[in-house]
């Protein structure tokens, strides 16, 4: 899976699962302050990412450090690489 695919699928999760408009999905967008998620949304985000990418997300510390969309792209990319 290339980087653009990771970006597209992640953005689709935000568009469809969190109903956030496409033009707000910039890599530097902060998921809490810019996109309006709250801490309780993180579990749902993880579940949605697991499903969309067909991966298991288990490193809770790394999940807690996620702040921006770019962080998610990198996080997924690392998981995908590990899985290969």
């Amino acid at each position: 899976m290339n980087e653009q695919e990771i970006i597209d699928i992640t953005n689709k999760v935000f568009e469809e699962s969190f109903e956030i408009e496409k033009d707000r999905l910039k890599p530097e967008a902060h998921i809490f302050t810019d996109l309006g998620l709250d801490s309780l949304d993180i579990v749902d985000l993880v579940a949605a990412l697991q499903k969309s990418f067909g991966v298991n997300i288990r490193n809770e510390e790394k999940v807690r450090n996620i702040r921006t969309l770019q962080d998610i792209y990198q996080f997924i990319s690392a998981i995908k690489k590990e899985g290969q």
Partner: protein, 500 residues
């Protein structure tokens, strides 16, 4: 408007536990139950004056120092119930029809290991490794230990490997694999779908001991009721929340009941099925992601049950509580597959019941079943089911009776069917969305719904939240209790009755 500190929704064992934990800590608690009586599936039902168990038949962990022993100690209800430990040398019997053989499984880890080594002398290292792994996973799991529940839930490596994968690595012996995964009947998930860690957490206490409770789950309900009086916990039956009101800053201010009354509460804990929780949350406060997560949860297995009693003139002095599970073959994955068409796994539970001056010898039969089996009648309600459904039920009862007489030929013409229940019966009787026995299916990598909900003063607990069965359901309430109570207060509460 009446004001409470906490409102607890659902009065199964998780709701009872939740209400008592909060009440014992000086909080003003209201417990709501949709049914006209409390207890959910742990309550017994009476037919022709004979008591039968709805959903709670036996448990592990009641031995001194076991999880359930500790839980009941903390809740000060242990002295109010009396465990009936099953015969230690053959607590759980498994008859595997394809092997033509009955396996008597004792309790006590060393006893089980020795017995399995007698049955499978070639497999001693697999047996040792399996039980070593089960023990290690449980030692490393704080969420199943009241004393360490303070620490965060940490997943083990075994949370990311299925039971099936572990067993395949350990042994090629089909009968041994079937016996090591046979307690899947107690949580209702295929070995290829459950993590080895959750399988271990479900099984360990049943490996230590197997007990029934005198007067079944109703004894627990009575014990809780007594404690509720001591702590001024208010119970309202035939009552449920229809609407949230006065929502500010993602906090619910008050709750409108089906009676029209409005009550306020600082917190509200839902111990009902996640799909029932989803129904009541206002759409504008939940994300599509939350809805999808809950909707993706699958159902665990259910049971088709036949409740029978032996004729009163039947003499059998050594009739005692026992459990016999009949597996047609060793493929537990298939037995737990809704599409499987062969003979289902069947569990027979014998019990001696005393009601006033009468004694009854009962046999409850539970055959694996799924909502899929009764799908064509799913819109029907109890008392209004079509003839085809009645025929389905009768056919299944006849089959099960035939299977009982095959293993207990001495009961021919002496065993009376008192009642029977399909998955739909359980669904409607317990207000559950699907009639499954263990809530949602605990699939590997699934993120359960536990603790805070999208509205901040609402919480989820119950058997779907952590692990199925009485222990998992009660532990989920302790986890949520720890969140609601002040940390120090919670710790003091736990160790008030529990030695460090």
């Amino acid at each position: 408007m009446k004001r409470y500190d906490d409102i607890v929704v659902g009065s199964g064992i998780s709701g009872l536990t939740m209400a008592l934990i909060l009440g014992m800590n000086g909080r003003k608690v209201l417990l709501l139950e949709k049914n006209p009586f409390i207890g959910g599936s742990i309550s017994r039902f009476y037919k022709n004056g004979i008591p039968f168990d709805t959903g709670f038949h036996f448990t592990g962990g009641l031995q001194k120092g076991g999880i359930l022993y500790d839980i009941l100690t903390v809740l000060e209800v242990r002295d109010l119930i009396r465990p009936i430990f099953l015969s230690q040398d053959r607590a759980n019997c498994f008859f595997i029809e394809s092997e033509g053989r009955q396996y008597e499984v004792p309790y006590g880890i060393d006893n089980i290991k020795n017995k399995f080594k007698e049955y499978f002398p070639e497999e001693t290292s697999a047996i040792d490794r399996y039980f070593g792994m089960v023990q290690k996973v449980c030692d490393d799991t704080p969420s199943m230990n009241l004393r360490t529940i303070f620490s965060e839930h940490i997943l083990a490596d075994e949370d990311f490997i299925t039971l099936e994968e572990v067993l395949n690595k350990l042994t090629q012996n089909h009968a041994l694999k079937a016996l090591l995964s046979a307690l899947a009947m107690c949580y209702g998930v295929k070995p290829e779908e459950i993590s080895f860690a959750n399988h271990s957490r479900m099984c360990l206490e049943l490996y230590h001991s197997v007990a029934r409770i005198e007067n079944g789950g109703s004894a627990l309900v009575q014990a809780f009721k007594k404690k509720f009086k001591d702590h001024d916990i208010e119970i309202r039956c035939s009552t449920h929340i229809t609407e949230f009101a006065d929502i500010n800053n993602k906090k619910v201010g008050s709750f409108i009941l089906n009676t029209g009354e409005e009550v306020s509460g600082d917190n509200c804990v839902f111990t009902i099925h996640p799909r029932e929780i989803l129904k009541i949350l206002p759409r504008e406060y939940i994300s599509r992601a939350f809805i999808d997560r809950i909707s993706d949860f699958e159902s665990s297995v259910g049971f088709f049950s036949v409740f029978t009693v032996l004729d009163s003139d039947h003499e059998e002095p050594d009739f005692e509580s026992s459990i016999l599970s009949i597996f047609p073959h060793c493929d537990v994955n298939r037995l737990l597959d809704p599409a499987y068409k062969g003979a289902p796994a069947l569990v027979l539970i014998k019990s001696v019941e005393h009601v006033r001056d009468k004694t009854y010898k009962t046999i409850d039969a539970f055959e694996i079943s799924f909502p899929e089996h009764v799908k064509e009648w799913e819109v029907s309600k109890t008392g209004e089911r079509p003839r085809a459904y009645q025929e389905y039920k009768k056919g299944r009862v006849d089959d099960i009776m035939g299977r009982i007489i095959k293993v207990y030929p001495q009961y021919k013409d002496k065993l009376q069917v008192v009642d029977s229940a399909s998955v739909l019966t359980f669904r409607d009787y317990l207000n559950s969305p699907d009639g499954s026995a263990y809530g949602i299916k605990q699939k590997m990598n699934q993120i359960n719904l536990i603790g805070k909900l999208p509205l901040r003063n609402l919480y989820a607990a119950g058997q779907s939240s952590l692990l199925p069965g009485i222990i998992g359901a009660m532990m989920s309430s302790f986890i949520v209790g720890r969140t609601i109570l002040d940390e120090n207060k919670y710790r003091e509460f736990i160790f008030r009755n529990l030695s460090t």
